[in-house]
Symmetry: C2
DNA sequence: TCTTGACCTCAAGTTTACTTGAGGAATTAT
DNA sequence: ATAATTCCTCAAGTAAACTTGAGGTCAAGA
């Protein structure tokens, strides 16, 4: 590490656990904006360690890179983000995460009921619910797990 | 629909909400094994509606197509799966899902603590935990959210 | 029968998130 | 001073999960 507090791409890679190529890729996607030294090499702020770690956590939360880029645009460039900056972003995360957890838990509970009743191969079950079917539009199975009203005699 | 109880690919698409091309793709990946009529067109069993709906649900649970294919190999071909068949598979789902929910919830709780304390831009917080850092290997940030022991003075 | 809509195959394209490789310049270590 | 690292750019490759298109066949209804 040089006398100043800027990091080379390799140092940043070591600090974040990312590969060098991934960091270059993230720059291309607008997640970081390193400066260059006289020789043309990238120089990163220490704050970029956190920025990239944020990216990794956000990915685990199910955000795509472009969504993360949008979030990060709300952070200041050049100076360390304030508490208010991060709080705003965290709140968005929180609500996104809540929805995902809610959805997963609902699926699990329904699955639980099915394990008990064996309905995945039968007709009457929590998953076989006209309400569900009626509320579904667009993507995904219209009738969860293949049941549809006129299939009752079939499978 | 013809007199017999076999479905054309279009009918199956209507029933599952999948596109025709997706169903062909799934066949290629071994998720369904339709027979052919004399003219060479695919003919599906009614049980394939459930099979494909299972695929969609499994994808939401975070399984990849090849993992789903592995699970489905445990189901009988040609006859309707029994309660025991599905129960075995459901149990695997349940444990996979539990792990994911656990992980998401843990992340959310840590995030909550951070929204409260503003630590995403500070030094002391739930996410800044030597234990976490020590237990991390391989993929992902070595130091969650960018903190590392000698960065305390920095950001 | 004939026409239209559904189906067929096979190849290539798409998006996301990166990695790998070639060819070369800048830094650092000895 | 020189060798060993590290870095640079750009192009191309990879894997997953599909879609799109070309060129042609099959089936169902008027």
């Amino acid at each position: 590490m040089k006398a100043n507090d800027l990091l080379t791409i390799g140092e940043l890679a070591d600090r974040t656990g990312l590969s060098v190529s991934a960091i270059r890729f993230y720059e291309e996607k607008g997640l970081v904006h390193p400066s260059r030294n006289p020789g043309g090499q990238r120089r990163f702020l220490r704050a970029d360690i956190r920025r990239l770690s944020f990216v990794l956590v956000a990915q685990e939360f199910g955000f795509s890179i472009s969504e993360i880029a949008t979030q990060l645009e709300r952070l200041p460039e050049g100076r360390a983000p304030t508490k208010a900056d991060w709080t705003r972003i965290s709140r968005d995360f929180r609500s996104h995460l809540d929805k995902r957890i809610e959805r997963m838990t609902a699926l699990r509970d329904k699955l639980d009921a099915c394990i008990g009743c064996g309905c995945l191969s039968m007709q009457v079950c929590q998953l076989y619910n006209a309400g569900d079917a009626a509320s579904r539009h667009g993507r995904g199975p219209r009738y969860l797990l293949g049941n549809s009203p006129d299939d009752v005699e079939a499978v």
